[in-house]
Amino acid sequence: MELIDNLVLGFSVALTIQNILYCLLGTILGTLVGVLPGLGPLATIAMLLPISFGLEPTTALILLAGIYYGAQYGGSTTAILVNLPGETSAVVTALDGYQMARQGRAGEALMVAALGSFFAGTVGTLLIAAFAPSLSEMALRFGPAEYFALMVLGLIAAVVLAHGSVIKAIAMIIVGLLLGLVGTDVTSGDARFTFGSSHLADGIDFVVVAMGLFGIAEVISNVAGPEEERKVLGKLGLWKLSKEDFRRAAPAAVRGTFLGSILGILPGGGAVLGSFSSYMLEKKLSRTPQAFGKGAIEGVAGPEAANNAGAQTSFIPMLTLGLPSNGVMALMIGALTIHNIQPGPGVMSSNPSLFWGLIASMWVGNLLLVILNLPLIGVWIKLLTVRYRLLYPAIVVLCCIGVFSVNNSEFHVLLMALFGVLGYVFTKLECEPAPLLLGFVLGPMMEENLRRAMSLAKGDPSVFVTRPLSLVLLLVAAGLLVMMLAPAVARRREQAFEESHEA
C-alpha cells in the first residue's frame, strides 16, 4: 500500500540519529518554552529560525515542529501544577487540572494529559498521512485563479475563527500583505517602498518581522505587567490511573482527538479552538456536569487530546496547500522559503523525504515527550518557578544575535527594534499581530497568482467567478465575512469567546 510505503520512507528519515536528536532537542526546548513564564512558541521558533539555517531543511523543520507541539505539553504542565496556562491552548486544562492537583491528584492529571496527548498525536499523524496526498494532488490542479481564491478564503477564515475584532484583523492582514510587497518587484524589477535603501531591496526579512512583533514586543508587554507568583503544590499524588479514571478519561480523549483534528485543519484553528470546544462538549455530554471545574478528569483528558490533535493537523493546510492556518505555521512557511523550498502542493512530490520525514518525526516526538516528561517532571517544576525578570534579558539578547546573524547586518536589528515598538503599539490598540504575519507571508504569493490569473484572463476579473472552484471558494469567504459582520452573529461570537474565557 502506498500509505505504508510513504510512512516507511518517513520513518527511515525521522529515525536517523541526527533527526532523532534534533527532534528530541525540539521537544525539550518546546516543553521548556511551555513551562517558562512569558515565552511562547511563536517567539521561540522565531528566535531559532536563524540557527536552523545551517541545518538540512528536513532537520530544521523537525526541530521547529518539535518546539510547537512540545510547547503544548509544557503549557499543560504549568496549567495543572500552578494554575497558569503556559499556552493559550492550555487555558481550559487549568480549570480541572489544577483542581485535581489541589486534591492531591496532580500525578493523575499529568498522566492523563500526557497519555491523551500521545493518543491524539498518533491519530493526528495518521490523519495527515492519510489525507495529505489527496489534498496535495487536488491542489496541484489549481490554476492561479483558484489559488488566489483559496488564499483569500484562508485569510478570511483565519480572522473569523480567531477572536478579537474581525475588521481590525482584516486591516492587519492588509498591512501584512503590503509589508510583504516591500522590495524588488519580481515581475517588473522595480524597487518598491525601499526609500532608496539597498538594505530593503530583497524585502523585509521574515525573521525580523516575527522576532520584532512576537519576541521584542512581548518582552515589553510582559516586563510592564505584574510579576506573577508561581507556587507549586507540594504533593504530586499517584503516578498511575485507576480503572475508574481510565474509564472516564479514555472516551473523552477519543472525542477530543477527533474534534481537535477537524478544528485544527481549519484556518485560524490550530490547537486553541479544539481545546475549548472539547471542554464544552465533555461538559454537555457528562452525566455530572456540576463536577466540571472541580477536578473532573474528563475536563483534562478531552481538551488535552484536542489541543495536541489540532496542533498536528494544522500542519495539513501548510504542507499540502502552502497556506498557514496560524502564526506558527506562517513561521514554518518562512522556514521552508528560507531553505529555497516553495511551500505548496509541490512539496510532497519534489521533497518526499522532507514531507514524510516531518510527519513521521511528529509521532517520534510525541513518543519522546511521553517517555521523557514523566520522569523529568521534577526538572520542569524547578523551571516553572523561574522569574521573568531573570529570563527576559536572555530573550532580548537571543533575538538580537539571531536577527543579526541572518545577514550580519545591523540594519536588520534596528528594523527589529522598530517592529518591536510597532508590535507593542498594536497590542495597546487591541490589534492582534498574528494576522499581520499571515498576510506578510502570503503577500508575494497572492500578488503573483493574481497577476498570472489576470494576465491569463486578458484582464477580465470575471475569471474568479466563472471558474467554478474559485467561485465556490470566494463565495464561502464572502459568506463567512457577511456572517461575521452581521450584528447578531458578531454578538454571539463575542459571547462564545467570553464564555470560553470564563468557563
Binding site: 522595480d190 521584542i216 518582552v219 516586563v223 544575535i401
Partner: protein, 154 residues
C-alpha cells in the same frame, strides 16, 4: 457612554487610514499598468486604498458606537520598559561590530534590566556575566557566527 476601547479603535482606525493613504500615495509614483499586465504599483495602490477605507470604517464605528466592549489590555503605555527594551536593541545594533560580542552582550543585559525599577544590581551583574559566557560559548565558538570577540584596538 463612550468607553476607552472606543477611543482606541478610533486611534487604530486613523493609524490604518494614514498608513493606507501613504502607501497609495507612494505607489501612485510606480508604474500602475493595467489589470491584464499589472505594474509594480497596481496591487499596493489598491490595497492602500482599501486599507484607508477600512481604517475610516473602524474610526467611524468607534465614534458612533454606544456600548464599548471591555478592554482586554490596559490602555496605559508603559514608557520605561518600552524605551529601555528598544534602547537595548538599538544599542546592540550600534556596537556589536565595534565592541565585540563580550562587551556587547554584557552591556545589552545591563541596559535591558533598566526596564523596571527595583531590580537588584548584583542580580544584574550575575545575569550579565552568565549570559555573556553562554553567548560566547554557543554563538562565537559553537556556531562560529561572524562577529568579533573583543573590540579591535588601534
Amino acid at each position: 457612554m463612550r468607553g476607552i476601547s472606543d477611543k482606541r479603535d478610533f486611534v487604530a482606525g486613523l493609524m490604518f487610514t494614514t498608513f493606507g493613504l501613504a502607501v497609495a500615495w507612494i505607489s501612485s509614483g510606480y508604474e500602475i499598468g493595467s489589470a491584464r499586465a499589472m505594474g509594480a504599483g497596481y496591487l499596493p495602490l489598491v490595497l492602500g486604498g482599501l486599507l484607508a477605507v477600512i481604517g475610516l470604517v473602524i474610526a467611524g464605528a468607534a465614534l458612533r458606537q454606544g456600548t464599548p466592549s471591555l478592554p482586554r489590555v490596559s490602555p496605559r503605555i508603559d514608557w520605561q520598559p518600552l524605551l529601555a527594551i528598544t534602547a537595548t536593541v538599538v544599542l546592540f545594533a550600534l556596537v556589536i561590530q565595534v565592541a565585540g560580542v563580550v562587551l556587547t552582550t554584557a552591556a545589552v543585559v545591563i541596559v535591558s534590566r533598566l526596564a523596571r525599577r527595583g531590580y537588584a544590581w548584583w542580580e544584574t551583574l550575575i545575569l550579565a556575566a552568565a549570559l555573556t559566557a553562554v553567548c560566547v560559548a554557543v554563538f562565537y565558538y559553537g556556531l562560529g557566527l561572524q562577529f568579533p570577540l573583543w573590540p579591535a584596538f588601534g
